[in-house]
């Protein structure tokens, strides 16, 4: 039987259809995700853009949607962002340095520490809220204040910062450390003068990304007392709200105008997060060294 031209063409039309259907399903999977993202963004922007104005930024919330603004919430979110960076960076980098440079991997307690951090990264955010409620708000009587919210968000975000900082520290080549030790530097001198400066871009990127995630969290703040109706500007030890909480409060109201307000506030929140993420990525692209 001689081979004829065209005998290489697939003679299994069913196979071809299966292939096409399968491919269609795969494409649909991706399209589903992106289409939803698109619909979400379009919905938010179309509904809310008209109300992103000075009123939103400068007025406190009110029962009348036409004069309500989100100033306390926006300020609180910015305030929380600053506190988050202030708290998480030293704690997270300190833990990462300890695990990477000082801890003996063979010891059981150090391995437990690593497992512990992995577990904490996967705990639902509302559990952190419960932690805050029990210990900070009621336990030591700190009350429903901004500081408590900042502390709880710090704990929530900390495992992510630790993991990012460890990656950055690990990426610094060992030859740099050896060269520094060989000159007579002590361990801390090597870490502080060589390892950390080299790891800084990675640490900065990771911390900013983690903070951005923390600022989008609502559930822990609800439990720690972010009140849903706050009309004064936030202070460290005063009652507070935050942008995600304000959005939640407005979404829960039945009136149509509050939905619109919520959409406007969402635009602001997304704007803040986008700025943070873009900054982090810019830092990574500009400063990160490829060893």
């Amino acid at each position: 039987m001689s081979a004829s031209a065209g005998s290489l063409r697939s003679d299994r039309p069913r196979g071809r259809w299966v292939g096409r259907l399968f491919y269609g399903f795969l494409l649909f999977s991706l399209v589903l995700g992106f289409a939803t993202l698109g619909a979400l963004l379009v919905q938010v922007f179309l509904e809310g853009y008209k109300w992103v104005d000075l009123v939103l930024f400068l007025e406190p919330p009110s029962a009348d949607p036409l004069i309500a603004g989100a100033e306390p919430a926006i300020l609180a979110t910015i305030f929380l962002g600053v506190l988050l960076i202030l708290f998480t960076v030293p704690l997270g980098v300190g833990t990462a340095i300890y695990l990477e440079e000082y801890a003996d991997r063979e010891r059981w307690y150090n391995r437990l520490l690593e497992v512990n951090i992995q577990n904490l990264a996967a705990v639902p955010s509302i559990v952190y809220g419960i932690l805050g409620l029990a210990f900070l708000v009621r336990g030591i009587g700190l009350g429903r204040v901004l500081l408590a919210g900042a502390m709880i968000l710090t704990l929530l975000v900390l495992p992510t910062v630790i993991i990012a900082a460890r990656e950055a520290i690990r990426a610094v080549p060992d030859s740099i450390r050896q060269g520094a030790y060989a000159l007579g530097a002590t361990k801390w001198q090597v870490v502080w003068r060589q390892v950390l400066p080299a790891a800084t871009p990675g640490i900065a990127t990771g911390s900013i990304l983690a903070t951005s995630r923390g600022l989008g969290e609502t559930a822990p703040l609800l439990l720690v007392g972010a009140l849903t109706y706050v009309s004064f500007n936030p202070t460290l030890l005063g009652e507070f709200t935050a942008l995600p909480v304000q959005i939640y409060q407005w979404v829960s109201r039945p009136q149509e105008e509050f939905r619109t307000l919520a959409a406007a506030a969402i635009i602001v929140l997304l704007g803040i997060l986008l700025t943070l993420n873009a900054t982090a990525i810019w830092i990574r692209n500009r400063y990160e060294r490829r060893w």
């Binding site: 050896q178 520094a180 060989a182 000159l183």
Partner: protein, 282 residues
Amino acid sequence: MSATMAAVSVDLTARARELPAKEFREVVFHVEDLGVSYNGNAALQDVSLEIYRNFVTAFIGPSGCGKSTFIRCFNHLNGLIPGAVVEGKILYHGEDLYGPHVDPVEVRKRIGMVFQKPNPFPKSIYDNVAFGPRVLGMTDRLDDRVERALEQAALWDEVKDRLKASALSLSGGQQQRLCIARCLAVEPEVILMDEPASALDPIATTRIEDLMHELKRDYTIIVVTHNMQQAARVADMTAFFSITRGEEGQRTGILVEYDATSKIFTQPSDKRTEDYVTGRFG
């Protein structure tokens, strides 16, 4: 003997006359029954020899014979590797480097190291050389120290106008000379070099070898090299290491022969040495 070895040996016998007689040599290190094991596996054992001041001493041998492990014993760099255990003694000016209370930082102030692959810090040229003095508290007249170190490393003329430039912008050979300058800036007594030229091109290699000749006037140099011709060119004394196999087949490094370079390459006492230097194996 091959033609190359003949040429080298003429050069060697000329230089052999330059080596001071044994009674005039000064001992810097006295190594006694040194052994190193990693997690129970012996990498090196029963090494005994003396290192003399202002000599260039080369460690040669096939790969895996423990010469890099050995050189790292002199500046306690093995201590950075978990599971590394050093037995035996290294007396440095009569004091045991591995005695109790010996601080590795103090050891490394006096015994510096240059690595196989140049490892400049990701900082400026100036900051690279200044790093050692800064961490050791030698910050007086820092600019002078940096200049002097760079001059001794034969790099000053090439970089004096761009001290603030990143060290990573230098060529491989320049980076290695920078690492040497960095080492010199803390004013050590001994310089350890672990295959300092193996990552460099031949011209850069020659410059490093010339540098070793000049530096030995003021410093004591120990160099590990896998390049026999290099050892023949630069070293006054040469130690040849090889590998023995244990009963279960483990490979351990041992010192086979240690003598003036001219003798190692022209009239080795041990057959294993002769096999190695004539290229029959290794």
